[in-house]
């Protein structure tokens, strides 16, 4: 894999984070760093809290202790929609695309942002459709009618619409056929080439090891 652009400050820095689900102490002093443009993988058994780590960074779950710093700013406690706007995108496990919205409308949830010109929007769309031509074909269809693999592509594509600096990818290949898995892997590579950092949580160890620079 390409050596990452070494930067002095990590893009995201998680320091000593503790998270609870009710009484269950899921994250116990978790710390990690992701540099700019770096692909970092998280592997481990089920239930150790990999997904929870991503959710905590994204503000979907509240950390009870610890700090999260993004691009020099502390972000713990900020609501998720603000995080999305400053460049953190989240692709959850089980995809969670908006099933009743069309593919195009799903993309628009990320695309319709202030300060983005129409031209730029078109650019982003075309670039994404080039990687995921299937989505272009299905752009008028409701999200719920897509296959599992297509939904995953949509979830990633939707995240790309936010022009994020980092994407939090949770189990992207879960339940997918091998052909799809390699397609996902290629898309990770493409994103990396574009300079997007990725924090990847995966069960598929070989994929993670191949795709990530650090694990």
């Amino acid at each position: 894999m390409n050596p990452s652009e070494a930067s002095a400050q990590p893009l995201i820095s998680v320091e000593g984070v503790h998270t609870y689900y009710g009484k269950s102490h899921i994250l116990n002093g978790v710390s990690l760093d992701v540099g700019r443009g770096e692909v970092v993988g998280l592997i481990g058994r089920n239930g150790v809290g990999k997904s929870t780590t991503l959710k905590t960074i994204m503000g979907l779950v509240n950390a009870s202790a610890g700090r999260i710093v993004y691009d020099g700013r502390p972000i713990s406690g900020l609501p998720s929609h603000k995080l999305a706007r400053i460049g953190i995108a989240y692709v959850p496990e089980d995809r969670r695309i908006f099933k009743l919205l069309t593919v195009m409308e799903n993309l628009r949830t990320g695309l319709d942002r202030n300060g983005v010109s129409e031209a730029r929007k078109q650019e982003l769309l075309e670039k994404m459709f080039a990687y995921f031509p299937r989505l272009a074909e299905r752009r008028g269809q409701a999200g719920g009618t897509l296959s599992g693999g297509e939904q995953q592509m949509l979830a990633i594509g939707r995240a790309m619409m936010l022009e994020p600096k980092i994407i939090l990818l949770d189990e992207p290949t879960e339940g997918l056929m091998p052909r799809m898995v390699s397609q996902i892997r290629e898309s990770i590579e493409v994103l990396h080439r574009d300079g997007v950092a990725i924090l990847l949580v995966e069960q598929n160890v070989s994929l993670t090891l191949a795709a990530s620079q650090r694990v």
């Binding site: 994204m58 998720s80 929609h81 999305a84 969670r96 908006f98 949830t109 319709d112």
Partner: protein, 290 residues
């Protein structure tokens, strides 16, 4: 039996007219429930205050249309303020508390209106009078206007939801609040916006309905009850269903009032409700039972 065809037709028209107003009120309620799981008890009071705002504006400007617009704006703002102050802190808690909070709001608003405006009913003048002959009766044009306007507003709402940028936000938030936030949609503001929209629609209904009956502080109560019945029968959160249910129930009540007094007509709607709950609890007009 001698079927009074002419009365039936008149009542059909009446039923549709009332049904459209009810649909306008109920759509706001359904929208609010669908997106925030909030049962807005205060909806009837927003309707009532809208009517009063209409009276006030009409008195100062003499223009019915201006009254309609102003009432909608003021009440929408009131709705937004109420949502931010009382409902936002309750987000994520047991839905029971939002019911209680909106019930409290309805008490406050109702009694405030009683004190501020007095118990005597006010009247809103219709923007134009003039009737046409429907059988042997003179039927006022105005009533058709109400139906038309309500339909237009609901139609506008539908288009907004389907094609507007904010419409997509609203639909996304209704489907998956968490992911919508993760996509950068400012969900708390979407909630406020929807509540304001619902309030505005209720206010419009109040102004439109004003000329038909007197405007007084208790006018919201009946409507809230009927709107709830409609929302349950139509399928909670189902916009199309509420509209269909509104017309259905209003028609039934209109026919029923040929034989019984109007206050008893509510029993008809209640029977419909009971039957729905027994046999199709997700709603009579829901396409597929979930």
């Amino acid at each position: 039996m001698d079927i009074p065809w002419d009365i039936l037709i008149i009542q059909t028209v009446n039923g549709i007219v009332t049904g459209m107003i009810l649909a306008l009120v109920a759509s706001g309620l359904t929208l609010i429930f669908g997106i925030m799981d909030v049962v807005n008890f205060a909806h009837g009071e927003l309707f009532m205050l809208g009517a009063y705002m209409g009276v006030a504006t009409l008195a100062t400007t003499g223009s019915f249309w201006l009254a309609l617009v102003v009432a909608m704006i003021i009440i929408a703002a009131l709705g937004a303020a109420l949502q931010v102050v009382t409902l936002r802190p309750l987000l994520g808690r047991d839905p029971l508390y939002t019911i209680l909070a909106t019930f409290g709001i309805s008490l406050v608003l109702q009694n405030y209106a009683l004190w501020q405006f007095g118990p005597v009913a006010r009247k809103i003048q219709e923007p134009f009078s003039g009737q046409f002959t429907l059988f042997y009766l003179q039927y006022p044009w105005y009533r058709l206007l109400i139906a038309g306007l309500s339909a237009a507003m609901i139609g506008g709402l539908y288009l907004f939801l389907k094609y507007g940028r904010y419409g997509i936000w609203i639909r996304a938030t209704t489907q998956d609040r968490v992911m919508a936030q993760a996509m950068g949609i400012p969900v708390p503001w979407v909630h406020t916006g929807v509540f304001a929209m619902g309030a505005g629609m209720a206010a419009a209904s109040g102004v439109l309905f004003g000329p038909l009956v007197g405007v007084n502080h208790a006018m919201g109560l009946d409507w809230v009850l009927k709107a709830f019945i409609v929302v349950v029968v139509g399928g909670m959160g189902n916009l199309g269903g509420s509209i269909a249910a509104s017309i259905f129930i209003s028609l039934l009540e209109a026919y029923a009032s040929i034989w019984v007094s109007p206050s008893q007509a509510i029993i008809v709607s209640s029977v419909v409700l009971i039957l729905t709950l027994l046999f199709r609890p997700t709603g009579l007009f829901v396409p597929t039972p979930k």
